[in-house]
Symmetry: C2
DNA sequence: ACCTGAACACCGTTCAAGT
DNA sequence: ACCTGAACACCGTTCAAGT
């Protein structure tokens, strides 16, 4: 049959295998040769489905933004403020759970692709901000919230902020709440 | 003489040339072969002074942290709060002015080296926070301030936050002030 | 001590040729 | 249409040999 020639949904397998390598060893470990090898296919085969290495990594990054959006929309809480804080915690948790994927998603070199992929993920955050009573313009609140969550996430996966295992969520909650209470009209 | 053999302070020249390539084209464009070529030296020569490519990039990143620290300590203002906000603006300005260098400095892969280089740069921020009257623990305030500045910087150089040319500093000031006023005991 | 030249294994990408 | 095999230019790193 076609067992060694046609491979079932190679594009999908390439993305899956690449994502696994990224998550385990980081995007620097991704090599077209290696991915092809692990898919049991020739080095030239991936080029039928992706323009090159960067395009393949771009597809994996896009999958990452989908996963992030899902994690953010799943965040819940009793009040609007608590829901916003929960989303912030989910944001940082996502980065902590998938550090290499997260870094790939926000690599500055992929500017163009990202400015398209980012906003959808941001929408969940913007929606939550809208429900919180504000004393600053909405866009300032959105940027500030996203900025803080993103900065804490980045510094953390970079090893610049060290959290002990126990107080992670609580500490995060305190930091995010400090911000929200600064934004809200009455503390 | 020794014109084509000994080169004046090769280690220094390697760092300088590497930093220039990083700033102009990003760290992905750095190649031992290219750096050696631009220094007029054989491909093997850099290995006498740096363990490898990562070590060379690490030295450039360390230089970057020095520059960042200087930019932060130069920030000034009339009140403690204004000084802190000015440092935050300086932080984001540094990232905007040296996007590729900044990204290299905070690459997650270089974890170990950074957790040593980061804190000194952070100290300037921590000192400024100490002068501001707080209603939250100092370490929470430091992390929150650094986190917000870092997140805005990262999102901005990644093209996720777009600032028009005019309102940059003012907008930043508004965002940082919103945070500080949330931290301070009386607004 | 510092540098060169040559070598090795590896990678990204292309392309004619196969099915 | 999808894949292979072979090729090209390039890179990181090492090492014996030169001064």
């Amino acid at each position: 049959m076609t067992e060694h020639y046609h491979h079932a949904d190679l594009p999908r397998r390439l993305r899956t295998v690449t994502r696994a390598v990224v998550e385990e060893e980081g995007s620097a470990a991704v090599t077209i040769a290696r991915i092809a090898r692990e898919c049991g296919v020739s080095v030239a085969a991936p080029y039928r489905h992706f323009a090159g290495k960067e395009a393949l990594l771009g597809a994996v990054a896009a999958d990452g933004f989908d996963a992030l959006r899902e994690a953010l929309t799943a965040a819940d809480g009793a009040t609007p403020t608590e829901r916003l804080v929960a989303a912030g915690v989910a944001y940082v948790d996502f980065a902590t759970t998938h550090p290499h994927l997260f870094e790939l998603m926000f690599r500055a070199e992929r500017r163009e692709r990202q400015s398209a992929a980012g906003p959808p993920a941001l929408e969940a955050l913007a929606t939550l901000v809208n429900d919180v009573p504000l004393r600053v313009p909405t866009d300032v609140a959105v940027r500030t919230t996203w900025g803080l969550a993103h900065g804490l996430a980045m510094l953390r996966i970079g090893g610049m902020l060290t959290f002990t295992r126990e107080d992670t969520a609580e500490r995060l909650r305190a930091e995010l709440t400090a911000l929200v209470e600064g934004i809200a009209p009455d503390r």
